[in-house]
Symmetry: C2
């Protein structure tokens, strides 16, 4: 979990299955290549499953596994920390730069 | 917090101030250069303070700030997750490789 995108993509999947295009919209600022690599890595680690539907056009969705869902709580705790303390971190950075 | 060493070093400081040499021993497998860079980054972000004592030989210690201590809970939640689920992640990796 040392790659920030892992946590971001898992968090974006918290409400259920998503197509890559929708994930990109919800996340914002993630390049398609990086999203693809991240999803592949999460799948490899058993955190996400990929479903391909034989439709026209073909549809692909990604969903958290039970293992992936078990990460939502620690990721949420970090997100909450970042939200609560971002200003203190930035103040420290400014103080150090001055 | 996208760098794993940040979390590792903060966790190693959870019981109180530590000299760099002691931190290296407790962490194990961190190169001195990487530890120095990590401590500098944590200090820059207001998570750690550095104290230099005018002794012979000079003594330097690092300690968590209140902001740094506030990260112990989310980091601990991640550590607990990793401890509880490492085998499942490795099983998924093996299944994908097979």
């Amino acid at each position: 979990m040392s790659n920030t995108w892992n946590a971001v993509v898992i968090w974006a999947l918290r409400h259920g299955p998503r197509r890559p295009g929708r994930l990109r919209e919800e996340i914002g600022g993630i390049r398609p290549k990086v999203l693809t690599e991240t999803l592949r890595r999460l799948e490899h680690n058993g955190l996400v499953t990929r479903r391909a539907y034989a439709e026209a056009p073909p549809r692909v969705e990604y969903e958290l596994t039970a293992l992936g869902r078990s990460l939502l709580e620690p990721i949420g705790a970090f997100g909450e920390w970042a939200h609560d303390h971002a200003d203190e971190v930035m103040a420290a950075q400014d103080a150090g730069a001055g």
